[in-house]
Amino acid sequence: MAEKLRVNPILCTGHGLCAELLPEQIATDEWGYPILSGTPVPKGLRKLARRAVNDCPALALMLVGDR
């Protein structure tokens, strides 16, 4: 199943770490908060996406089933 990235904006502290790891899927706004592409994570990026999720210091990033 295709998965998408989602961020819990209450937990996210805007480190921007995720955007550095995965610029194809995550940009940052002018305040440093992640802007997600909203598109399913392609196969080739899944590993990196999982790493971004695991490395988020605020536990704010997640992969969810694409609906």
Binding site: P9, E30, W31, G32
Partner: protein, 453 residues
């Protein structure tokens, strides 16, 4: 539309269906059934608050259905939708909660955080027993064992409800004891995840979803949240039936709804209207011309007088324009006021009401408000308008709740409807003759933790 006679015949039948509990008597023939097309239905016809004796004289005792889900079919046939703003079909929410594994909690939402709306407070004053009947019936329908009423923290109103509940306890009407929970006077207090947090003993702050409140709400239990007007409608439909309910309103959006009206002459109040009533009629636009009309409150949208003049109060008419009937707020801006000044006041208020939990909302809304204020005060530079557009796109759909989305909807409608005024302001002028504020803005923005509980 169904004819009145047909509807009331069906209504009588409907009050006999389902299991009648001991002590819940069907109304004797002599009791006058409300005429199907006569309004008000929800508000007390006498204009005085309907005490328990009056409520029982007019509507009789509530009729439990004798089991979970029994009422849901009637609600589906009636086509009742939520009156808290989103117009979500009520039967679908009842079913979704009844389908959950745990024992549900039911909460009546009377927070009415919207400053331009008075209809829930008015309803709770006027017809507390219809709301409380609906609360018991909703609890029965989803199999709940715990019910709460969440209402504005206004001591007189809380006492009014306490005494209504005491009267019902003495008369043996309620199966479940209702816990009253007060809502802080915050715009977001009535958002359902904030409500669930508050009823569970926390602060009235929105939380991230999923899980949704219907799956995981008050203390983790599946939670049904219905606006108090929706509950009162349930109290009526359970007695008079779906056909009676449909005797007013449109085929797609049946029934009546409470509206909070502000006419351009400064007068106004709460009125019950059939869905599909022309907005010009509700706002008496031919007698009191308006510069613009606000529909749906501070998360709603401005309409030009021409648009308002040809539309009815219905989502079928309003949604194509990006507006919605919402919780029934209708305000006619007097011709001598400035729509940009009014909108800037509202957006500033909305920015201050942000719970400040999410980065984009915390950073974006105050900046948007400040730039809009520059425009309203005729101090803006061309960069301000670009900033407002960019920040609007940056906050949209990026909050844990819909506060940024509603704020942006309101703001964009202001820039669209008052586009001539924007041009004037950018040239340092303003067409308004009166600086008098029009839309109500509560004093005191949240400053401390306690302001949210």
């Amino acid at each position: 539309m169904t004819s009145g006679a047909q509807a009331s015949a069906t209504g009588r039948q409907a009050s006999l269906e389902g299991t009648v509990q001991p002590g819940a008597t069907v109304q004797p023939e002599a009791t006058v059934q409300p005429g199907a097309t006569v309004l008000p239905r929800l508000l007390s016809a006498s204009g005085r608050p309907a005490d328990l004796a009056e409520h029982l004289r007019v509507h009789g005792r509530l009729l439990y259905r004798g089991g979970a889900r029994m009422l849901i079919h009637s609600i589906e046939s009636a086509g009742l939708t939520g009156r808290g703003g989103a117009a979500f079909p009520t039967h679908r929410k009842l079913t979704a909660v009844a389908d959950q594994l745990g024992v549900p909690v039911v909460v009546g939402n009377g927070a009415e955080g919207e400053p331009a709306s008075d209809k829930d407070k008015t309803l709770l004053w006027s017809s507390p027993h219809l709301v409380l009947d609906g609360l018991q019936l909703a609890a029965e329908a989803v199999g709940a064992r715990r019910v709460h009423l969440y209402l504005h923290r206004e001591p007189a109103l809380v006492r009014h409800l306490e005494s209504a509940l005491a009267g019902r306890a003495a008369a043996g009407l309620d199966r479940l004891q209702v816990g009253l929970v007060t809502a802080p006077a915050r715009f977001l207090a009535g958002e359902e995840s904030a409500l669930a947090s508050r009823v569970g003993g926390g602060a009235a702050l929105p939380r991230f979803t999923p899980p949704r409140v219907f799956e995981h709400g008050v203390d983790g239990a599946p939670t049904l949240v219905q606006n108090v007007e929706t509950l009162a409608q349930l109290g009526l439909i359970s007695r008079y039936g779906p056909a009676w309910f449909r005797a007013v309103g449109t085929e797609a959006e049946p029934g009546s709804m409470l509206t909070t009206i502000r006419l351009a002459d400064g007068s106004g109040g709460v009125a019950e209207a059939a869905i599909g009533t022309p907005i010009s009629q509700l706002l008496k636009l031919d007698r009191y011309p308006a510069r613009a009309v606000l529909v749906g409150g501070y998360h709603g949208a401005w309409l030009s007088p021409e648009q308002a003049g040809r539309l009815t109060l219905s989502n079928a008419d309003l949604r194509p324009l990006g507006a919605a009937a919402g919780a029934g707020v209708l305000a006619a801006l007097p011709v001598d006021r400035c729509g940009l000044v009014e909108s800037a006041r509202v957006v500033r208020y909305l920015a201050l009401e942000s719970a400040g939990q999410c980065g984009p909302c915390l950073n974006g809304l105050p900046r948007i408000a400040a730039s809009l204020n520059q425009l309203a005060q005729r101090r803006s530079t061309p960069a301000d308008r670009d900033d407002v557009q960019r920040w609007s796109a940056l906050v949209e759909r990026r909050g844990a709740c819909h506060h940024p989305d509603g704020t942006v909807r309101f703001l964009r409608s202001a820039l669209a409807v008052f586009t001539d005024e924007v041009t004037l302001h950018e040239a340092g002028r303003c067409s308004a003759r009166s600086p008098e504020p029009f839309l109500p803005i509560p004093a005191g923005s949240p400053a401390r933790e306690e302001d949210w509980s």
